[in-house]
């Protein structure tokens, strides 16, 4: 393996050259009986990435959707070739890449993964292979007023959750009085910017440039809020392999392979040569000493302490949202139930059709339709859309509970009320509804507990509630153990007292009145 040889080789020649090398290696392996147990004709290099909306990193090939293309794909293939293996792609959601790496689901992952200290502390990480700039994108009309984060006091600024940009925005929340809005993907921040739901998007230049190509009416401000780097990650302890990956990356920096890949995907810029030069100069220094700085040596307890306030706040959002949505569901559900029991056949049929429609379709779909689908008609704020989505969905279930409870009240109770001169409305209010409520209490409690948990779905509408906050926390510290336990504890702290209260009420109704 001559270093000079590689420096001279061009990317397109690579395949042939590596093939020869692989063949030679295979011959040697076959000749060695001791190594025969690991004999695999072409060892695979399994690599993970997220192809969902992943251009120019990783995306499904338009010509052959079974294949993926992108600069990260080419880098993965380069690493595979130069380590004598065949690359095989596995799809992993961006937000789950770290957890998946820790589980050892793949040999390595690349998908625009940012170099952050927590990641470097928890996983095996490569040297950086690309330098990006966090850039602020705004609507063209706001180009002159929103130039930096400091201009966005009182405004909403969107980004992808669990990224460096999100941490920057959280800092800017206190420094500049703006509101950070976290998305699960890197496409909707820009479409919501155009819709006016947010006033700016902070994401890296690769994503910003892609968004500028997709949407007219946006401008990206020239300055950089911060610089960051993309890295390759692998399971913790995989440091030997990572050292090999680092060597391959350095070689590709030196021989122009990496530059060629970036140029092909139109992401090459003036930031890269200094990065490459610095990394090549560092060669020989401690492996993995990237620009991310030393890993913070925080214990799990310290981390828990640091994140507890934000988890509590998120639990408050979960509780407030669930209570408000449940209130809506109860009021609307009761109205629908009364309409179905007391209304004429036409009204009853219409209400039944509505109930079946809402119950028969996923709440996630309903949330998307209310927030994104209706956006061209009415631009609902995220919290209102979440409240409406959950409330309307649960109203359908509540109405069924109340309808059957109303119908379970014995006929004789209504006869008795009528014989005493009560109107139908009075009989409902004073006799039927109170008795139905006692029957409905247990299923209602059940529904409320389900609502507490279903409210985690509204994170797709950028609402950061308890589950989403836990996910952010887990991504940042690189572990699910403490965040998961805290999150579960908080959910239980909300649902257990509710169950207790419901059981006490039921017990009181069952036993003699005082």
């Amino acid at each position: 393996m001559s270093h000079d040889d590689r420096l001279r080789s061009r990317p397109r020649d690579e395949r042939r050259g590596t093939f020869g090398l692989t063949a030679l290696l295979a011959l040697i392996l076959a000749a060695l009986p001791a190594a025969a147990q690991e004999r695999a004709p072409a060892p695979e290099l399994v690599w993970g990435g997220d192809a969902e909306g992943g251009a120019p990193y990783v995306e499904a090939d338009a010509d052959d959707p079974t294949r993926v293309v992108g600069f990260d794909v080419e880098i993965a293939e380069l690493v595979a070739r130069r380590s004598g293996r065949t690359a095989r792609f596995v799809q992993v959601a961006y937000g789950s890449l770290d957890q998946s790496a820790r589980r050892g689901d793949f040999d390595l992952a690349l998908s625009g993964i940012e170099d952050i200290p927590a990641r470097r502390a928890e996983l095996a990480a490569s040297i950086p292979y690309y330098e990006f700039q966090e850039q602020l994108t705004v609507r063209a009309a706001d180009g002159s007023r929103f130039r930096t984060l400091a201009d966005l006091r009182g405004r909403k600024v969107a980004t992808l959750g669990g990224t460096m940009a999100y941490d920057l925005l959280l800092e800017a929340e206190s420094a500049h009085g703006l509101t950070a809005v976290s998305y699960d993907d890197d496409v909707h921040p820009y479409s919501d910017l155009l819709l006016g739901r947010v006033d700016a998007v902070l994401l890296d230049n690769v994503l910003a440039e892609r968004a500028m190509r997709r949407h007219a009416g946006l401008v990206t401000q020239p300055g950089s809020a911060a610089a960051g780097h993309y890295i390759i990650i692998s399971a913790p302890g995989n440091t030997a392999f990572m050292a090999q990956v680092d060597d391959i990356l350095r070689t590709a920096m030196a021989d122009g392979t990496l530059e060629a890949i970036f140029r092909r995907w139109k992401v090459w810029n003036d930031d890269q040569p200094p990065l490459f030069a610095r990394l090549l100069a560092d060669a020989g220094a401690a492996a993995g000493a990237g620009t991310g700085g030393p890993a913070p040596a925080t214990s799990a307890g310290e981390a828990a302490w640091r994140y507890l306030p934000s988890l509590l706040r998120a639990a408050g959002i979960t509780l407030a949202l669930s209570c408000a949505a449940m209130l809506l569901a109860i009021v609307l559900g009761a109205a629908v139930a009364i309409g179905r029991v007391y209304g004429g056949p036409l009204l009853a049929a219409l209400l039944t059709a509505w109930v079946e429609l809402v119950r028969g379709t996923p709440v996630l779909l309903q949330l998307f339709v209310i927030y994104y689908g209706l956006a061209s008609v009415v631009r609902l704020p995220a919290y209102l859309a979440a409240l409406l989505g959950l409330g309307l969905n649960y109203a359908a279930y509540e109405s069924e509970v109340y309808r059957s409870a109303l119908e379970s009240v014995p006929r004789g109770q209504l006869d008795a009320a009528a014989s005493l001169g009560f109107s139908r409305g009075q009989a409902l209010r004073l006799v039927r509804a109170p008795q139905a409520f006692r029957l409905a209490l247990a299923p209602m409690t059940n529904d409320f507990v389900a609502m507490l948990k279903d409210s985690s779905l509204v994170s797709v509408l950028t609402v950061v509630e308890l589950t989403k906050q836990t996910q952010i926390y887990a991504t940042n510290i690189g572990s699910w153990v403490v965040p998961g336990l805290l999150c579960a504890g908080l959910y239980l702290a909300m649902s257990l007292p509710l169950g207790h209260l419901a059981r006490r009420l039921e017990a009181r109704w069952r036993s003699p009145a005082s």
């Binding site: 109770q413 008795a416 009320a417 009528a418 014989s419 005493l420 001169g421 008795q435």
Partner: protein, 238 residues
């Protein structure tokens, strides 16, 4: 008529007809009751006794015929006390919400009624905690709470043992003595003979015989009455 009538007519039912699907339940029933009367309706099951009470109470609409009734209270065979309310609250509910009485007045009157009927000590009990006899007396108190001149009782003796039956008879006699009119249905010819002032025998939706209970039960004229009494005797012997 210029002559003073001995008593005011509280209930006048004429030509009452009622059909359920293809079944004719009532086929032209006439019935009057004056203040202070205790009128018993007798008849085999399905003869239409309970349906007459339900029509008079306004719970069912007749297909033909007229009902002229004073304000009516109804005591159901199975009581139908409001399950979620205590005995006292059951009695107070209509005065407070239908008559708009002040709560304190309604409560005072309810306690008084329950006391008079011998269940004053059960004010706080929920319906499911009451015995059959207690529930019936609470149910009577509930019906009386709005002070109706006419009280309808559906099978009031059905769930009572002989001693309780006697107590009920006394209670009804006291109510009649205050000028209230009682119309009840019953299978129990002993009870009817002792406590009713008039009996009507129903068969297949028609009144087939009526008069003084002692007279009718001792010398039944109509075959349906004789059959009814035979069935009753057989049941009592069994």
């Amino acid at each position: 008529m210029s002559a003073a009538r001995p008593a005011e007519t509280v209930l006048a039912v004429t030509g009452l007809c009622l059909r359920r699907g293809t079944r004719e339940i009532l086929r032209g029933v006439d019935l009057t009751a004056d203040a202070g009367e205790v009128v018993a309706l007798m008849g085999l099951s399905g003869s239409g006794k309970t349906t007459i009470l339900r029509v008079v109470a306004g719970l069912e609409r007749a297909d033909a015929g007229q009902v002229a009734a004073a304000k009516t209270g109804m005591v159901f065979q199975f009581h139908f006390l409001f399950e979620h309310l205590s005995a006292l609250e059951n009695v107070m509910l209509a005065p407070v919400h239908v008559q708009r009485c002040p709560r304190a007045d309604a409560e005072r009157r309810a306690r008084q009624l329950l006391e008079q009927l011998g269940v004053g000590h059960r004010c706080g009990a929920l319906p499911r905690e009451l015995s059959g006899g207690e529930a019936q007396r609470v149910s009577i108190a509930r019906a009386l709470a709005v002070d109706p001149p006419l009280l309808l009782l559906d099978e009031p003796t059905a769930s009572l043992d002989p001693a309780r039956r006697h107590d009920l008879g006394d209670a009804l006699a006291r109510l009649a003595a205050t000028g209230r009119t009682l119309v009840l249905t019953s299978h129990d010819d002993d009870f009817v003979r002792e406590h009713a002032t008039r009996v009507l025998v129903l068969s297949e939706g028609r009144v087939v015989e009526q008069g003084d209970p002692r007279e009718v039960i001792a010398r039944p004229q109509h075959p349906a009455t004789r059959e009814l009494l035979q069935v009753e005797r057989a049941r009592q012997r069994a």
